[in-house]
Symmetry: D3
Subunit: 138 residues, 6 copies
Amino acid sequence: MKEYFCSRLVKSEDLNHHGTLFAGRTAEWFVESAFIAAASTMGDPEKVVCLNIHGFVFKTPIKKGEIVKFVSKVAKLGNSSIVVHTRLDMELSHITPIEGFITFISVDENGNKISHGLVMDEAKDDEELKIRERAKKL
Amino acid sequence: MKEYFCSRLVKSEDLNHHGTLFAGRTAEWFVESAFIAAASTMGDPEKVVCLNIHGFVFKTPIKKGEIVKFVSKVAKLGNSSIVVHTRLDMELSHITPIEGFITFISVDENGNKISHGLVMDEAKDDEELKIRERAKKL
Amino acid sequence: MKEYFCSRLVKSEDLNHHGTLFAGRTAEWFVESAFIAAASTMGDPEKVVCLNIHGFVFKTPIKKGEIVKFVSKVAKLGNSSIVVHTRLDMELSHITPIEGFITFISVDENGNKISHGLVMDEAKDDEELKIRERAKKL
Amino acid sequence: MKEYFCSRLVKSEDLNHHGTLFAGRTAEWFVESAFIAAASTMGDPEKVVCLNIHGFVFKTPIKKGEIVKFVSKVAKLGNSSIVVHTRLDMELSHITPIEGFITFISVDENGNKISHGLVMDEAKDDEELKIRERAKKL
Amino acid sequence: MKEYFCSRLVKSEDLNHHGTLFAGRTAEWFVESAFIAAASTMGDPEKVVCLNIHGFVFKTPIKKGEIVKFVSKVAKLGNSSIVVHTRLDMELSHITPIEGFITFISVDENGNKISHGLVMDEAKDDEELKIRERAKKL
Amino acid sequence: MKEYFCSRLVKSEDLNHHGTLFAGRTAEWFVESAFIAAASTMGDPEKVVCLNIHGFVFKTPIKKGEIVKFVSKVAKLGNSSIVVHTRLDMELSHITPIEGFITFISVDENGNKISHGLVMDEAKDDEELKIRERAKKL
């Protein structure tokens, strides 16, 4: 599936009292990035709401001045659900300190679940296949 | 364990494009609330960092003008880990649309894991017992 | 009257150029915390607006990484007015660097003053009695 | 004394759940505007801290899209204290829905009170005289 | 034309990773300040939208704790266009690190261009004349 | 040169009083996106500062709920200067309402200009060639 990219500069307003990226801010960006992939794949942001953050591990602290890149793509499709995989890459050091899944559902204007009619394409490589396998087990 | 409370008014700056509380903002508040319980129990915010958001489900949208109350308490203690349970209560309608666990670890000034020396107290009721059982299975 | 709690972690985005909690941010949190007590006691945030900040003294600077707890409760009731007392407690050092009163009024959907129909309960202790005495003299 | 001006456009991020300017945001801007007058008169922002918000009344709600102008000037000088009067003017309707006083003190690099050495000039008109009379009674 | 003033204190939330005022934040304040001049001159913020930022040079970094003053005035009027000149003065050091022009247009409630009916007054001094000459060449 | 992508969801906190994306917020995102391209190409965010926003035109208003994608790449290199071209694409409607150039310079730890040692690669297509031609004329 198509990848969506959200890069951000870590500035003073994003720091916790340790002087590193606040976990709450990371979570906020994580949700926004995954939403962008779900809504863009769906083609209409009005019809997508967040249902489930499946959890993710903070492997390493992120410092002020770092450039972080969120890379998101759809990993599983149910009838009305859209599961997105998001990973955070450090643009310069090429490590991936955080990755995880978020589930969205497609809704009509009254907030009721609807079928989204989307279908998965062929996985482009082994890494995408593995992510899809993990998404099935959520 | 002692409960910590963070109430918030949902204002315009907190809304997504649907006009309801943005899931990313909810996640940010969730992390801050859990951190406050972990750091207060530990007695020193400098020695606590976020390791793992275990995931949570958004059961119902939250509207502008709602008062949301995050209630957090420690649910499990490892040698250096502190697992916090947080639930979001609607102050006026008394429903609980979101709840989940976040794991923190205690660290020294260089960011290395240290033993926190905390011990669990007696669970005050059945509900707390059940939460502790769930924390053990994370 | 029932107490309402709003705890917050002091992060980089909350600091002034001295590196301590910006007085303007403190004032913003003070108002939000008092509002939550007034609106929750009233049972409907739509019917409560802020009328008067009665002033408060900043006794000591608050540092990055501190956990601050705003504790608010109704201290006086007029026909349409609701006077809230708020104090800011430092969660870990147990000092109270700021406290004061804010008056709200209850309004209908056109913003006109209405009677709120609330009544004061018995003060639970001497401290609450003293706060109520002070509220009478505002 | 010299007047300092801070104009602001009321945008979505500044609104409460009523769709009008959030009282907490107003208070934040009020403090920043008064600080600018105190620090500019003093000539060094590093040496000025906020001591006391003397309270102010919200006479009328302020709507989205309004342009608000904070006008601040020093109203009284003690040995180390600087009392600033701030009023909020509506740029287009020319009404003044909020005004009040904030006291700052001058401090050295360790936060200890110091004499600021400032002196009041001649009041430029009757209005300024009246404000100075009110400041004396705080 | 009448000058409009927006002073701001540079706080932690406004800093980039160098610890100086983030260029993006400067640009945001620049636009808001110019908008206030255009909308106030027009007499109705609802009828003014931003069309063109003509570019500006950052001559010197701005530090935390600085007081920056944006000074804006109308520099040219077309049939529906309003060109505003804005300069950023440092309140205490009296240097002007940034200045430039922004063009707004007046629109009706459907967003269509309308004639604003404004006319330029006499330039009050040589400096204003020079700014108007530069605005003609944009 | 390599393209860098920053996608964003337009939320309530980003809106002006018209209910569309605030031009000041657009400018802030524009600068951050261009900075990410300059600093990533340079390989070190510490050594890059913003010098010049060359101006850009807002061709169409952007509504709440839209997904906007900033696409940035280096368009010209001087000895110490890095000129970045940024365009804002609407993810779903595929129009490009804003584009322009920002110049950065590479500096040492004291803020003095240094040679960055970067060289342009082959333009990958006609569009990139045209952008580079425009950058030469700035």
